[in-house]
Symmetry: C2
Subunit: 456 residues, 2 copies
């Protein structure tokens, strides 16, 4: 990188203002579930730690659909990363995207300079996978980041305003049709939330619109919803959604979408302005690491060390955690699932492991403890598969879902505000937050770039 290009570049660029100490330096990329749990556990008396993230906040992704459907403020499900970091000395945060790694020089490179590491931990998570379909990437709404949720919220409420002005025309049918692709938790929860809004919120707000015309489709490629859960939970969630009026299509793929017309694999067409794409993710791989990839993820051993190509040896100082890591286990021959609990436990595990290494204690391999899987469909309607074959559904499943999600939210303020909002919505059949604060357009990549460039 040619620093002379970046203007007033008169500070020392090669350490990003991180001091040198006698301690080993751990660089961790990504402030998601894995990253913040690692940071919480690592003993910074034993190591210097530098956390990189392109945003200045942690996002509680499982609740993004509630931001998109006006149930929660974005601020309630995000935690400032500097707050996560502030309790520890010799722990640094840098709001920078790591562009590439040089494993020989042991350096991470950013737009504003580079930093040497002793240990590198990759916890960059995953992003939306469009499987190469540029049309879908261009026209569909993803739901992985706060900006996505805000765009989708603006889109929804702009459509309803528009539908009211177009009352009595055919266009209204298209405006009030929503197609959600992907029957995993995000798709199921999004479809449920839209169906609830249709029933409880929208008819009050838009009394002139005929909401019997509003249609919510949920498309899933395999033969059941929530394929990672038990068959009975799949079945319950489908029944819940259908009872709420969602048109669930199993064994169905979306072949194409041009912004107006969804084409299904059976040739059927659906006219809609809004496709929510929750059909797949791919890992945020970092350039410059010559590693063994499995399903597009960094293949790691039982200590979360990244395998070199050929799968014979590992990098002793490069680790991967969470969605960006691929780890076998006896129970999971196809790799651990890309879910928050795996990331949380791996971050926690690796933090503790590093502390043990520094004290020359033995390090045990990572062992994933499945505490269960849950998804909520709506008011009093949720499914939960817990260990020992315990399954909840209905009201108890729903209360369990709320309790667990509150527990994992960062910070007491967020827990409290989310709880107040949920209680409010429950008692009032309402969703409080319906602001259109930006035009619905897919400008978030540009947004990210502009934020980063502003730091130059």
């Amino acid at each position: 990188m040619n620093h002379s290009q970046t203007g007033n570049f008169n500070f020392e660029p090669d350490n990003l203002s991180i001091p040198s100490t006698h301690k080993k330096r751990i660089v961790i990329i990504g402030g998601g579930f894995a990253g913040i749990n690692f940071v919480e556990k690592i003993n910074t008396k034993l190591y210097q730690v530098v956390l990189f993230d392109r945003y200045n906040y942690h996002t509680f992704q499982p609740l993004l659909y509630q931001v998109a459907t006006a149930g929660l403020e974005p601020d309630s499900i995000c935690g400032p990363l500097r707050k996560v970091c502030k309790s520890k000395k010799d722990l640094y945060f840098r709001m920078l995207k790591v562009q590439r790694v040089d494993t020989k020089e042991k350096r991470v490179h950013t737009l504003l300079g580079s930093l040497e590491y002793d240990y590198l931990i990759i916890a960059t998570g995953a992003k939306t996978n469009y499987f190469g379909n540029d049309n879908i990437e261009k026209h569909a709404f993803p739901l992985k980041q706060v900006v996505h949720a805000l765009e989708l919220r603006s889109q929804l409420f702009q459509l309803f305003e528009k539908a009211e002005l177009r009352r009595g025309t055919d266009e209204v049918d298209r405006l009030l049709t929503f197609v959600i692709v992907g029957g995993g938790p995000t798709g199921v929860e999004m479809a449920g939330a839209l169906a609830e809004m249709k029933k409880h919120v929208l008819p009050h707000d838009y009394p002139e619109i005929d909401f019997t015309k509003m249609k919510v489709y949920l498309l899933e490629g395999v033969d059941r919803l929530l394929p990672a859960m038990s068959e009975s939970s799949s079945e319950s969630s489908r029944k819940y959604l259908e009872s709420m009026g969602v048109d669930v299509r199993l064994n169905t793929f979306m072949k194409d979408y041009d912004g107006r017309t969804v084409v299904l694999d059976n040739g059927e067409e659906i006219l809609t302005d809004t496709v929510v794409w929750a059909a797949g993710v791919k890992s945020n791989i970092i350039d410059g690491i010559d590693a063994d990839l499995n399903k597009g993820r960094f293949h790691v051993d039982e200590y979360n060390r990244v395998y070199a190509p050929g799968n014979q040896s590992v990098y002793e100082n490069i680790y991967a955690l969470g969605d960006v890591a691929f780890q076998f286990s006896e129970q999971y021959p196809n790799g651990l699932p890309g879910v928050a609990p795996v990331a949380i436990q791996q971050g926690d595990y690796l933090g503790k492991s590093f502390n043990r290494i520094a004290k020359n204690k033995e390090v045990r391999p990572f062992n994933y403890l499945d505490k269960g899987t849950m998804a909520t469909v709506g008011r009093n309607k949720a499914v939960a598969d817990l260990p020992l074959n315990i399954r909840f559904s209905g009201f108890i499943g729903w209360v369990t879902w709320m309790f667990v999600h509150l527990m994992y939210l960062i910070g007491f303020r967020n827990k409290l505000v989310v709880f107040v909002n949920w209680l409010w919505s429950y008692l009032n059949y309402d969703r409080g937050i319906r602001l259109i604060i930006r035009p619905a357009q897919k400008n978030w990549e540009e947004t990210d770039e502009l934020i980063e460039k502003s730091l130059q």
Copy 2:
């Protein structure tokens, strides 16, 4: 307007999907304090009412500075206008900007068509006044809308991230300097909030930054802060701010600002990336009304009817309320102040007056009841001038300020969430909301335009 230009324009454009009834139609432009209080009071069994606003929400402007300084979520201080409207039949909301009025044809015109009125109420409020200085308009941050507050919040936190990366350079001084222009409530409250963040929040978040370098200037053109309040309140607020480290400059004007250098009228220069412009407003005048303007506002009589030019006769069917209206009273020979209570009382008054007219009851002239003025400077520091020469300051003033602001917030959910946030901040010396979700750039006008165009 040539409707053929706007694409699929196959609905009836000339009534914006508003049905015709035997009742008189009141069109009200603007969902600010005046607008929503009018809507609350008007009896829609007696009139059909159509409310226009370019946003789909009401903004509680007195708390915008708390959004800008990470104390509150934007959603907590905004109320969806459709929610305000939903309790009444024959009350319609249209998220459209009224572009001009044709007083002869009695029609309001929007991008998507026009609508006839029997009565027109203008409650469009005010916007930032740069007094013709394009440089300032281009480079300073206003604080009148939610988008402004979000831009400013992003700006602040981006600057701190940048300052940390630039540690040890002269640039840091400029990044950590904040100039607020205008010593009214917004300026005083903004300066106080920044000084509080400097003391209680930022040093924890950015332990590497030397915050003794952070400077907050507050410039006021006349010889005291809060010129609309009592001299003792002016004096208290100045002392509070100075005790918190704010550099208060009275009798001082900003001559120019190029995005880097503030030039004062005494020739002094201050280097800064952030100027908050709270130095003046001008009314949002609507085109097409041939009216008597006073100080750029629609001159109205004691019934809030708009004067025709020459000040001899009034329009019998055109009214103006709040910041866009200029109304004399004995106590206020220079016109009622442009503050929320005037707008609230006028909206309330006019709604009731219309109800009386329909029942052939006598209508009394508007009488402004001054319930007092308040401003908060920080934790336990506020000033309040109440009627009967009662003045509070310090802790009691501050509690009074909080209580009154909570009372006027729209909706119980907002009151509750704001209260929880304030309690949290008070107990923890914290500000919870520090997300950078968009680049700081002045793109809001474009944003407004894009939102409106999306409705076509």
